[in-house]
């Protein structure tokens, strides 16, 4: 399936409703990056609803990489006993 990406801040209730979730099929990534199907009218309408900003795959990947790098740095700075209960955030490659 072909995808496209946008950035939109999840404000909470109503950001994605059940109908949109069922018909579009979202995947959320760090940095408020959302993956949606390409050539999908419902997805385009949703991006308009949430005032999202379309990004190329490369732009979206750069945002995700920066967020993951921050999360990894935060994890690296944790005390060792706290690291034992979690795993280091892993890099994400967008499809």
């Amino acid at each position: 399936m072909a995808y496209k990406y946008c950035v939109a801040e999840n404000w909470g209730k109503g950001f994605i409703d059940h109908s949109e979730s069922a018909t579009i099929g979202f995947a959320g990534f760090p940095g408020n990056v959302w993956r949606i199907p390409a050539n999908n009218k419902a997805a385009n309408l949703w991006v308009f609803k949430v005032a999202g900003s379309f990004k190329t795959k490369e732009e979206a990947q750069a945002i995700v990489d920066a967020e993951v790098a921050t999360a990894q740095a935060n994890w690296d700075a944790l005390p060792e006993e706290q690291k034992a209960d979690s795993t280091r955030p892993t890099n994400i490659v967008l499809e």
């Binding site: 999840n10 909470g12 209730k13 994605i16 979730s21 993951v68 944790l78 209960d85």
Partner: protein, 320 residues
């Protein structure tokens, strides 16, 4: 020649009960409920809910989708509690013992916080139990075995605690009667970071570490094997009952993964939009709630609401 159907259209069926077999778009009038109904198929789906005020992971949940509770979690350990009304979270009373990786049970106005891990400097597993009355937490009876990353089920006066890490990994089950914990039957497989749901006499345990697909059913005395999760995972959340359970999130390649249990087997259903691990779960199989956790970008405030597909969408007809 013009026909009746071309000028008047088809008549709507008048039925005393909803038809047992329907097709997409079928319309009928239910003369018992006086409602005009149309069949539309839906898919089980997650929608975003109101965000937590405080991003947190390793927390616990209780209650329902419209009256939920999230408490404890992070690191470092917190005692903070938030109450959900179906739209937004608001502050609740703070637990007397700050902790994370704890278990929850009960409802928003009668919840239990069970065990978990204390904050620095000890970072030790705890046996502390606290009871919530809708505004404040008060001490309850202590667990017999202090432990973290355990699971809970049931109500404030008839709860279950099972599994966890004490250390070592434990299979121990304990039953709460509203004042004290007593020993129950051991899980067949010791595990931690598992999820649970159901009641004290009909409990369900699933997933956990070591990465497990295992499901076990409790009858008030002993655990027996149930159907395996489709995907093994730990640090997941769950809600519902022994015969209608829901498993979501967790440490797995697809944190959005959601499965539902019918008392025999698990089937994949609508995926979360922005799944997490070490999150809180509450509610039922048809109206679930997920809050907080650790998403790939870090600790999150995100809340999602699961709703099972309604069979029939109905439009009420009124006379004017």
């Amino acid at each position: 020649m013009t026909t009746y159907y071309e000028t008047k259209g088809q008549k709507i069926q008048v039925l005393a009960t909803d038809p047992s077999e329907t097709i997409e778009g079928q319309v009928w009038y239910n003369s018992t409920s006086n409602t005009l109904k149309v069949y539309k198929s839906f898919t089980d789906a997650w929608a975003t809910g109101g965000n937590l005020a405080t991003a947190r992971s390793y927390l616990a949940g209780a209650g329902t989708q419209t009256a939920g509770l999230a408490f404890g979690g992070n690191p470092p350990a917190t005692g903070a509690t938030e109450e959900y009304d179906g739209t937004s979270w608001s502050p609740g009373g703070t637990m007397g013992t700050a902790r994370l990786i704890l278990a929850g049970a009960g409802i928003q106005t009668a919840a239990l916080a069970i065990g978990g891990q204390l904050g620095p400097p000890t970072d030790a597993p705890t046996n502390v139990t606290e009871e919530y009355n809708g505004s404040t937490w008060s001490p309850g009876g202590n667990l017999g075995t202090a432990r973290k990353s355990l699971a809970g089920a049931g109500t404030q006066t008839a709860a279950l605690a099972f599994g966890g890490f004490s250390p070592p990994i434990t299979a121990a089950t304990e039953e709460y009667d509203g004042s004290a914990w007593t020993t129950g039957g051991n899980l067949g497989t010791a595990r931690f970071y598992l999820a649970g749901c159901g009641t004290q006499t009909a409990g369900l345990a699933f997933g956990g570490t070591p990465t497990s697909t295992g499901t076990e059913e409790y009858n008030g005395t002993s655990w027996t094997a149930g159907g395996n999760l489709g995907t093994g995972r730990y640090q997941l959340a769950g809600c519902g009952t022994q015969t209608a359970g829901l498993a979501f999130g967790g440490s797995t390649a697809d944190r959005n993964l959601t499965e539902k249990y019918d008392g025999t087997s698990w089937t994949t259903t609508g995926s979360m939009n922005n799944g997490a691990k070490v999150l809180a779960g509450a509610g039922t199989q048809t109206e679930g709630l997920a809050a907080g956790g650790n998403s790939p970008g870090g600790i999150t405030t995100a809340t999602e609401e699961f709703n099972a597909a309604p069979f029939i969408a109905a439009a009420t007809v009124t006379q004017s």
